[in-house]
């Protein structure tokens, strides 16, 4: 069984030039950084907040904060990792505002290992995506990931949707690498378990 292929990163060769120019007040250079990463920041924000308005606010506030604080960006990490860190913090803050009754933290955790032990082991249809329309599938995926705790879904989104490395995710979330790995495994297994009911092979599906 093959491993997951990772996304190819965009070239970042000119990025330090843009970051330096933006740091010196060049708004045009900063606009290019916004164009490069606004889709990613929006996706991350929407995944964490699960709310469209909040995600829009997160995009605006994260980029503005990044512009205002570029002087503190040391250049030891990638600009994108630094930006993601700002965006995740903004998104979690909004989530806390909306759900003050619930603890929302990346450290929050993590009942027991049992939450990730596979309970239902059924193979999936050969092409689960074809069982549903594009809109239905998006609805299923969105609802399913919404059921994960914010800490788990944030790690899953950064590693598996945005293709950040474990090290970059750890840096962006201020977590240790073992903590990221543990959350990622459990997030993947929990999602798998929850998607089973939609994708498992039904009677009459042809075997491959």
């Amino acid at each position: 069984m093959g491993a997951i292929e990772s996304k190819v990163s965009e070239p970042v060769s000119d990025e330090s030039v843009l970051v330096n120019a933006a740091r010196n007040g060049d708004v045009g250079a900063f606009e290019q950084l916004v164009r490069r990463y606004d889709r990613n920041v929006f996706r991350i924000a929407q995944h964490i907040t699960q709310n469209r308005e909040d995600a829009e606010d997160v995009v605006q506030d994260a980029f503005l904060k990044a512009f205002q604080n570029l002087g503190q960006f040391q250049g030891q990490s990638k600009f994108y990792t630094w930006l993601v860190r700002i965006a995740v913090n903004e998104a979690l803050m909004r989530l806390r505002r909306r759900r003050p009754e619930r603890t929302v933290s990346l450290d929050e955790d993590v009942k027991t290992e049992e939450d990730s032990i596979p309970r239902e082991v059924a193979d999936w249809s050969p092409n689960p995506e074809q069982l549903y329309s594009q809109a239905e599938l998006k609805d299923i995926l969105s609802k399913t990931i919404q059921g994960l705790s914010p800490g788990f879904r944030t790690v899953f989104v950064l590693c598996d949707v945005e293709a950040l490395s474990t090290e970059e995710t750890a840096e962006a979330l201020n977590l240790s690498i073992p903590a990221v790995k543990s959350r990622l495994l459990r997030a993947r297994l929990q999602l798998r378990e929850r998607l089973n009911k939609y994708f498992k092979r039904r009677n009459g599906d042809s075997k491959q």
Partner: protein
């Protein structure tokens, strides 16, 4: 290798970050354990489905509106700090 040992290594196996010796042990386990084979396969599909889902794409009109707002605020900030 037991199933729970396999499960602990599953992420590293899917990310191709295990060393060769452990990878061989995992593949040996997969060879005879149908349950772990299914869990491994469906977990891999889970990742691929989310990665390819284009969930929460930013529509062009909203994208333009957000960028205009961001750049406007950045210019305001710059004007204040320059003053």
């Amino acid at each position: 290798m037991t199933c729970s040992e396999f499960l602990k290594e599953l992420s590293d196996y899917l990310d191709n970050t295990t060393d060769q010796r452990i990878r061989a042990e995992l593949e040996d386990h997969l060879h005879w354990c149908h349950n772990c084979y299914v869990v491994c396969n469906t977990t891999k599909r889970t990742i691929e489905i989310y990665r390819d889902s284009q969930l929460f794409e930013l529509p062009d009109d909203l994208r333009n509106r957000l960028r205009t707002a961001i750049i406007g605020k950045c210019k305001q900030h710059k004007a204040k700090t320059d003053a």
